[in-house]
Amino acid sequence: MSIVTEKTNFGKFYRPILAWIVALLFFFPIFWMIFTSFKTDADAVKPEHLIFFKPTLDNYLNMTENYDYWRFAVNSIITSTFATALALSVGIPAAYSMAFNPSRRTKDVLVWMLSTKMLPAAAVLYPMTFLTKNFLNIFDTHFLVIIVLCLINLPIVIWMLFTYFKEIPKEIIEAGKMDGVSTWGEIKDILIPLAWGGVASTALLCFIFCWNEAYWTVRLTTIDAATLSKLIEGNRAPEGLFFGRLSAVSTAAVGPIIILGWFCQKQLVQGLTFGAVK
C-alpha cells in the first residue's frame, strides 16, 4: 500500500465509523419499509409499537387480496423481460456493426442516439396517447409498454454494448471471417461468448431501468398492462391507514430489483454516464 493510505488517527479509527453511519442512514428508509411491512396496519401507526411489536406475515399473505399484487407483478415481469430481450436483439447487431465496421459517421450516430434519450417524455405525452389510443389502438397493451420500454433504453443498451465490444480485438472477429463464418455466426459464436459478461450486465441494467420506469408505464396504461409503478402510485395517499400493507407491497416491488442492482454497481457508472467517466 502506498503511504497515502491511512496514517492519521482519522483514517484508522473515525473513517470506518463515519462511513458506516452514513451508509446506515442512507439505507434506513429501506430498512424501515421492510420493518414496517411486518407490522399490522394498526401497529404501524402507534408510537408505542414503534420498535417493539408482534411481527406478522399477514401483509405479505394478503397482498393478492389487498392489491391484486401478482397481476401487476406479472405485468412488470413480462414487459421488462420482453423489452430487455427486444432491446438486446436490436442492440447487439447495431453495436456489433458500429464496433467492428465503423464508418465516418458512426460517432455521430452514437451521439445522436443518446440525444433521443434526452427528449423530455412529457413533451410528447399527448401525441403518444393520441397515436396509441385513436390511431394504432394499442393503448394499455403489453405490446405498447414493451415497445416503449425498449425504445427508451435502447440508446443506453447500444452504448454499453458498444464499449464492451470495442475492447475485443478486431483480429478475432476478422479471423472468423477468413474461415468463412457468416455475419450471424460471428455474432453468435464468437462475439457473444467473448463479451458474455458485458452482455449480461447490460441486460441486467436494462431490466432494472424497465422495472423502475414510472412515466410511460403510468401514463400509457390503465388496467390491462399496468405495472408495479402504477400500482404503487395508485395507492399513494393512504393517510396512515395502510402503512403495514403498503410497506409489504412496496418491499415486494423493489426488493428483487435492489438485489439485482447490487450485482451491476460497476456497470451502472458506465451505463449512466455513457462511458464518459472511467
Partner: protein, 312 residues
C-alpha cells in the same frame, strides 16, 4: 454485396426505430403547438380535432408565456433541480472521499449506500411522504412528538422547570403544504441520486494519480490542500457530467411530484404539461416545446463531452 454492406446494415433497425420514436411524436407536438386544439369545447366544436384550418401561429406560445402557472412551473423546476444538484454533489463528493480508502466492511457499506438508487420512484415517493415525512404518523411527526414529551417532562422538574417552561412546543413541518412540498421532492430525490453521484465520483477518484499525491504528502501538503488543489480539479469533469445528467433526468421529474401533492403548489414543467393535456392540447404542446428547448440547452454540452470522449 461487398463484405462490409451487411455488417453496416445491421445498425439500420436500431437507427430506424429511434428515428421514428423521436420524429413522429415530436413533429406532432410541434404541429399541435401551432393550432387551436382543445378536447372539450361546446362553443367551438371545430377545435376539438386537429386541423390546419385551426392555425393559431404563435398564439399558444403567447398564451403559455402569459399563464401565471408557466413561470411558476419554470421557477419551481429550476428550484427543485438546483436543490437536488446542490445536495447530491456536496454529499456525493464527501461520501466518495470518505469511502475511497479501504476499511473493514467497505463492501457492505457500498452495497448499503447504492441501494436507494434502485428503489422505483413511486415507492420512494410513497415511502418518504407517508412513513418518513408525515407530520403525525411518519417518523417526522413521531420524532417531534418525542422531543415535545421530553421537554414537557423537563418542565415538570422542581427547580429547572421554570427555565424550561420558556421552551415552546414544537410543531412538525408538514411536507404536503403548498410551500413545503418542493422540499419533500428535493429530499426524496437527493436520497435516491446521491448514491449515483458517489459511484461516479468514486470511479473517478480511483483513476487519480497516486504518485502525484504521494509527492504532495512528502512536500507536507495538508489533507485539505490535497483535496482542493489535486482531487477537486481531477473531479471537475465528473462533476460536470453528474450535474448535466441529473439536470436532464430531474427536469422531467413526475412521479414524485404527483405522489407528494398532486402538483398542488408544486408544479414543474412536465406536471404543467400533464395538466394542460387534460384539455388544452395546443398549450400543452407549446409547453412541451419549451421543455425540449430547455433540455436541449443542457444536452448539447453533455453530448459534446461524451462525443469528445469517444475519439480518445
Amino acid at each position: 454485396m461487398s463484405t462490409r454492406t451487411l455488417p453496416r446494415l445491421l445498425q439500420a433497425p436500431a437507427v430506424l426505430l429511434l428515428l421514428v420514436w423521436m420524429l413522429v411524436p415530436l413533429s406532432m407536438t410541434l404541429y399541435f403547438s401551432f393550432i387551436r386544439y382543445v378536447l372539450n369545447s361546446l362553443r367551438r366544436p371545430e377545435w376539438t380535432s386537429p386541423s390546419f384550418s385551426n392555425w393559431r401561429g404563435f398564439g399558444n406560445y403567447n398564451y403559455v408565456l402569459d399563464a401565471k402557472d408557466f413561470w411558476f412551473a419554470v421557477q419551481n423546476s429550476v428550484f427543485i433541480v438546483g436543490g437536488i444538484l446542490f445536495f447530491t454533489v456536496i454529499l456525493g463528493l464527501s461520501i466518495a472521499v470518505l469511502i475511497n480508502k479501504t476499511f473493514p466492511g467497505r463492501g457492505i457499506v457500498r452495497v448499503l449506500l447504492i441501494s436507494p438508487f434502485f428503489v422505483m420512484p413511486a415507492v420512494s415517493g410513497v415511502l418518504w411522504i407517508n412513513m418518513m415525512l408525515d407530520p403525525v404518523l411518519g417518523l417526522n411527526g413521531i420524532a417531534v412528538e418525542g422531543i415535545n414529551n421530553i421537554i414537557n417532562d423537563l418542565k415538570a422538574l422542581p427547580v429547572l422547570g421554570s427555565f424550561f417552561s420558556l421552551w415552546p412546543d414544537l410543531t412538525p413541518l408538514s411536507f404536503r403544504a403548498t410551500q413545503t412540498s418542493a422540499y419533500a421532492v428535493i429530499i426524496m430525490v437527493t436520497w435516491q441520486w446521491t448514491p449515483f453521484a458517489v459511484l461516479i465520483f468514486m470511479t473517478s477518484l480511483q483513476s487519480e494519480d497516486q504518485q502525484q499525491k504521494e509527492a504532495a504528502v512528502l512536500d507536507g501538503a495538508t489533507a485539505w490542500a490535497q483535496f482542493r488543489y489535486m482531487t477537486l480539479p481531477h473531479l471537475a469533469r465528473p462533476i460536470a457530467i453528474v450535474v448535466m445528467i441529473q439536470s436532464i433526468f430531474h427536469l422531467s421529474l413526475y412521479a414524485e411530484i404527483e405522489i407528494v401533492s398532486r402538483g398542488n403548489g408544486n408544479k414543474n414543467l412536465p406536471y404543467l404539461i400533464g395538466e394542460f393535456a387534460n384539455n388544452n392540447i395546443g398549450a400543452a404542446s407549446a409547453t412541451g416545446i419549451f421543455a425540449v428547448i430547455l433540455a436541449n440547452i443542457i444536452a448539447i454540452f453533455l453530448l459534446r463531452m461524451v462525443g469528445k470522449n469517444l475519439v480518445e
